[in-house]
Symmetry: C2
Subunit: 293 residues, 2 copies
DNA sequence: CGAATTTACGCACGGCGTAATGATC
DNA sequence: GATCATTACGCCGTGCGTAAATTCG
């Protein structure tokens, strides 16, 4: 279970080919073959079928473990590297689309910022691997409740903003006249699922906690990270979506109806690598101070 | 960052000696020295001071990462091993002291059981590393809320019992006459902290959520796992402790006063390795069926 | 001076590449 | 028959142990 072998294994599984993986990793086919053989011998199980190359059930399991392991390994290295590294002059922020709004944008220093837009689930990864100095993620939760922490390596999360939620309806929608909506009333409706741009339906089902996570069927799934597209899809009637009220209210051609029950908010959190709690100066410190202050 | 090196590193740190670690691992002192040197060179940081041997700040950090990494590595191996292993005839259960009560004991098969008593925090580890086939942990939570999942590798948790909570007071205690107590009223009292036998005070502070986790000062800390000792300490007036009501009510020489606010229960959960969801037969299946059914 | 870590050095094994073999569509 | 994975085999480098040197209490 050498990490090198695991890395080779996940690459082979991802590319579904020994030769491709060899090229990607800078090995020969032979070496890759030996890696896989070593793993299979060690574990006493076949991990991949050949022709076509695909993970066996046991291989699927190993994939989950290997992914988490390699990520944690990178995280550890990044964390230790921070100890030695000189404080950097530039601030690299990873942020999910809806985590960027007036409050957070205002806190960005005027200069020397690299802002990388990522799907929400990738933001913690970027912070933990040291690709970003800070992260901004959004999600839904009960008021003043934290978002569910990602199960990647430890991260310090601080809430920096909470806004009410609203359902975005195309003008003329039967429910568009309502003063407020309850989530229960919408469980049977058709929804947009935009896990990378908006709020994943899974999260909705989780907080709804209804009958074994049922309901909230997907009308259309959008896999990009462009919020404007998401809004346009909602306006065009491709499905419902939940948004922070201020944003929802600003969409022309649509009506934003407040969500009144259950009591949920759109929450934005600042993610920082743990430890080194208060480096006194530098762009990271300035950014966090302006967000928290 | 080879796992072998990490394993050597944590051993050296734990034993505070290169030579001891070498003996423990079956290496020579020389090899251990080379391992540590390799790690320090790789990371570009000193990890240990010599004479005395103790982790530097960076080394402390690496210890946290390394522990989690090595645990996940063992977990992955154990998980994959389960795929190949024949279903076992004997059931090995790891349980925290307060997780063992009428309900859970009744579910144990009449024969072929190995029951290992462990501190609550060790139970998930035992399950995840395959040292136990199932785990029983206890803790406090809001009614029908799950316990906070341990951040070790994935585990399937099912609630199997919830009981009301009571404060155990020595007979003659000023509050012993009360019909019910509120946690707020007790935040300034002196408590027993028995994280391995009872409910850790940290958890109490966490669910209380009061002013930055203050209050609940420790009068006496008991580090064993013997519940009888914990009860005796409470009876002898060494501090307050929170217990499941049925247990608290059965203690001679003490009074059990129900906890009325906040609404909390003592919850017991069954922990199982994930995946292989429903193996149809065998002692594990029987045990889980009797617990859930 | 003694205990314990570091460095020097040699050898053995592991792991990669080249090249030949084998399997599968 | 072509493509792709496996096996055979030789070489290089890593990593261990033995043993000498060094450091620190």
């Amino acid at each position: 279970m050498d990490p090198h072998l695991l890395r080779t294994y996940v690459t082979v599984a991802r590319l579904a080919s020994f030769s491709e993986a060899a090229r990607a990793l800078g090995y020969t086919q032979s070496a890759v073959s030996q890696h896989i053989a070593a793993l299979e011998t060690d574990l006493g199980l076949p991990l991949l079928t050949r022709r076509p190359v695909a993970p066996t059930p046991a291989g699927e399991r190993l994939l989950e473990h290997a992914g988490a392991l390699l990520l944690r390994l990178d995280a550890a290295r990044a964390d230790l590297d921070r100890f030695a590294a000189a404080p950097r002059a530039t601030l690299r922020v990873a942020a999910s689309p809806l985590a960027l709004h007036a409050r957070t944008l205002a806190a960005l220093p005027a200069t020397g910022v690299t802002l990388r837009g990522l799907p929400p689930e990738q933001v913690p990864v970027a912070v933990v691997t040291g690709e970003a100095d800070a992260g901004l993620v959004d999600g839904i939760a009960a008021p003043s409740d934290p978002l569910p922490p990602p199960d990647v390596a430890p991260l310090a999360a601080t809430g920096v903003a909470e806004e009410p939620l609203a359902v975005l309806l195309p003008a003329g929608h039967p429910l568009a006249g309502r003063a407020g909506l309850r989530l229960d009333d919408l469980a049977d409706a058709r929804w947009l699922d935009a896990p990378d741009a908006g709020i994943p339906l899974d999260r909705l089902r989780a907080v709804h906690g209804g009958p074994a996570g049922g309901g909230f069927r997907t009308a259309l799934r959008y896999e990009g990270t462009d919020t404007r597209t998401l809004l346009a899809l909602a306006v065009a009637g491709h499905g419902l979506t939940l948004l922070p009220s201020p944003l929802a209210a600003s969409v022309p051609g649509a009506v934003a109806v407040p969500l009144v029950a259950p009591r949920l908010v759109h929450r934005t959190e600042l993610l920082l690598p743990p430890g080194v709690p208060a480096e006194p100066t530098g762009p990271v410190a300035e950014f966090t101070r302006r967000l928290r202050g």
